[in-house]
């Protein structure tokens, strides 16, 4: 198990238990509840974990602050959609579309990395934000290719469609349909992506990325060609975000500027890594759960906790369930104030369990 997670255990037993519980719940959810809303939410969490983790790889491990991450997410979504549309919803078409998307994102990721060498800090962040907005606008206007503002709806392979029913889970009576199969395909691909990213950040390559983030000159003084490392990191982050985009489009059976390229998606990613923490990939898991569950259930929770009589009174208007977005904003501000390093960061100690494998220690004569 430790090998599977590249010896990178969460820094704290509580966090480890929380992560394990989340993974377990996500793994069994579609077999235990017929609630479409819950399963949709779980699928979104599953997609946003590798998406946010790839952003952490870029920003948290390499120090490249790029807001163009939604571009890769969008390329993945549109790539998969166009592949399916042009192949009568075949699996090979789906994979071809996604692979072409991955290749395009890799090129774009390289361009982003090269740009980061020429333009620094806040200026680079602004350029990438403009790139994200321009791409969103392009997707909205190239109607012949992308369906414009309306986006594209498409069929997925029959075996993965909700209409196909395989069997019924005995203890919960939940039907196992093609959609449930799709859920587990998402789960498996997202898990593999996450484990691959864990492997990357805990490899010697990942250590160099951390060194570059801390001080690029020092890393180059050790003989590392930092430009090459930044470029590869940017390409890897782009590839994982593209795969996540493909997964999301496959789940929704739809792709449009709003679902993949909008500022809302970027805001979600930022919220996830602020709440979860950008110092560890596990921040993506905790942040995705907090943010996406809040987006789905905060309104219901407020309505449950605040009696209608109070919520409808003039004084209690801020406590109405309709104001859930305000309270999500408050949660965001409080999190930045109280736990600036995120949930994972707040529990970090001086050493890390994974360090023990870094290199064999010297011959101790204790």
């Amino acid at each position: 198990m430790k090998r599977l997670i590249s010896y990178d255990l969460p820094a704290n037993a509580w966090i480890a238990a929380l992560v394990a519980a989340i993974v377990l719940i996500l793994a069994v959810l579609p077999l235990t509840t017929p609630s479409i809303r819950s399963v949709n939410m779980a699928a979104k969490i599953i997609v946003f974990i590798p998406l946010a983790a790839s952003f952490i790889l870029l920003i948290g491990y390499t120090g490249i602050v790029s807001f163009a991450h939604t571009v890769f997410f969008g390329i993945g979504g549109y790539g998969l959609a166009l592949g399916l549309l042009n192949s009568d919803a075949s699996v090979s078409g789906m994979l071809t579309g996604l692979m072409l998307g991955v290749a395009l994102s890799a090129v774009f990721g390289l361009i982003i990395a090269l740009l980061s060498l020429r333009i620094r800090a806040i200026y680079f962040a602004m350029v990438t934000l403009v790139a994200a907005l321009v791409t969103s606008q392009l997707a909205s206007r190239l109607t012949w290719l992308t369906g414009g503002q309306d986006g594209v709806s498409f069929d997925i392979p029959d075996a993965l469609s909700p209409g196909v029913r395989y069997w019924t889970v005995p203890f919960s009576d939940v039907p196992v349909t093609g959609k449930v199969l799709l859920y587990y395909a998402l789960f498996a691909i997202a898990a593999l992506s996450f484990l691959a990213m864990l492997r990357i950040v805990n490899s010697p390559f990942g250590r160099v990325l951390q060194a570059i983030r801390e001080n690029e000159f020092r890393a180059s003084a050790l003989g590392y060609p930092t430009t090459w490392y930044k470029a590869v990191s940017s390409i890897l982050a782009a590839v994982f975000a593209t795969i996540a985009g493909g997964l999301y489009a496959a789940w929704l059976g739809y792709v449009g500027p709003g679902s993949t390229l909008s500022l809302n998606v970027l805001t979600d990613i930022l919220l996830i890594i602020v709440i979860g923490g950008s110092g560890s990939l596990y921040g993506a898991i905790l942040g995705a759960v907090v943010i996406i569950v809040s987006e789905n259930y905060l309104q219901s929770l407020i309505e449950l906790l605040i009696p209608v009589s109070i919520a409808k009174s003039p004084a209690g208007t801020l406590l109405s369930g309709d104001r859930w977005l305000l309270w999500l904003g408050v949660l965001y501000v409080v999190a930045i104030y109280l736990v600036p390093e995120g949930i994972v960061g707040m529990t970090r100690s001086g050493g890390r369990p994974g360090d023990r494998r870094a290199i064999p220690g010297p011959n101790h004569s204790r």
């Binding site: 010697p204 250590r207 160099v208 951390q210 060194a211 801390e214 001080n215 000159f217 020092r218 180059s220 003084a221 050790l222 003989g223 590392y224 060609p225 930092t226 001086g350 050493g351 890390r352 360090d355 023990r356 870094a358 290199i359 064999p360 220690g361 010297p362 011959n363 101790h364």
Partner: protein, 237 residues
């Protein structure tokens, strides 16, 4: 006489609009320790940074017969030059073990070499899995030098290694650096502590306002107080 390892000719370096180095010249030989001395602001650190390509210079720097001006910092490092900056150049988020692994670049550090390094700096053994940001000043200095030694280097540039260190740690450092020269690694040392520099260096270059004002043997300047006072403005008892 041993072979010339480093030659710096008419080195000029600009930082922004400031002309910091205005003609630095010196050479050093293989296997030796050379000290760059001078008052604050003389250009000693900038000289080291120029050699490493961190402050792009004009002029000529030849390392082992090869012109290295214009090469990237990474390429210069790969030629076998290690750098221990005054700021130590550590990565505070990495442990001692990770730092040494990083410094070993593509290959795993040789166990015997790690043992040798930790015999030079025993404190590093104790804090093997501690983050470098949590080490004391002396331990950080030791790690910074250890980092430059993980891969065999022909030359290491060390900038003010004794700054802020207790006398007992300075003595440890002198012993470690002396051992290092016995392993045929040359050292170019920038140092304010004249006693420390004199105990290690054989060759000396004195800088003043970004120019070389004197080059010779350390013994000459150590013995001649009038010369020392004239060049460095210090009197050492």
């Amino acid at each position: 006489m041993t072979q010339e390892l480093l030659r710096v000719d008419d080195l000029h370096t600009f930082i922004g609009d400031y002309h910091i180095l205005q003609g630095v010249n010196f050479d050093m030989h293989e296997g030796g320790v050379a000290a760059l001395l001078g008052r604050n602001g003389a250009g000693k650190t900038t000289t080291l940074r120029s050699i490493m390509g961190l402050a792009p210079p004009r002029g000529r720097i030849r390392f082992d017969g090869r012109d290295i001006v214009g090469l990237s910092t990474a390429a210069i490092s790969r030629l076998g030059i290690g750098y221990v900056p005054e700021t130590l150049g550590l990565f505070s988020g990495l442990t001692v073990a990770e730092t040494l692994r990083l410094a070993a670049r593509s290959r795993a550090p040789d166990r015997a070499r790690i043992d040798w390094i930790t015999s030079l700096f025993p404190a590093l053994r104790k804090f093997w899995h501690s983050r470098s940001g949590n080490l004391s000043g002396g331990q950080k200095q030791m790690l910074a030098i250890a980092k430059a030694l993980v891969e065999p280097k022909r030359l290491i540039l060390v900038d003010e290694p004794t700054k802020g260190l207790a006398p007992s740690v300075v003595a440890e450092l002198i012993a470690a650096l002396k051992q290092l020269t016995q392993q045929s690694t040359s050292i170019l040392l920038v140092e304010q502590n004249f006693h420390f520099a004199a105990s290690l260096a054989t060759e000396t270059t004195v800088l003043e306002s970004g120019q070389t004002t004197w080059q010779g043997m350390m013994g000459d300047i150590a013995r001649d107080e009038a010369l020392r006072r004239q060049l460095l403005g210090v009197s050492v008892v």
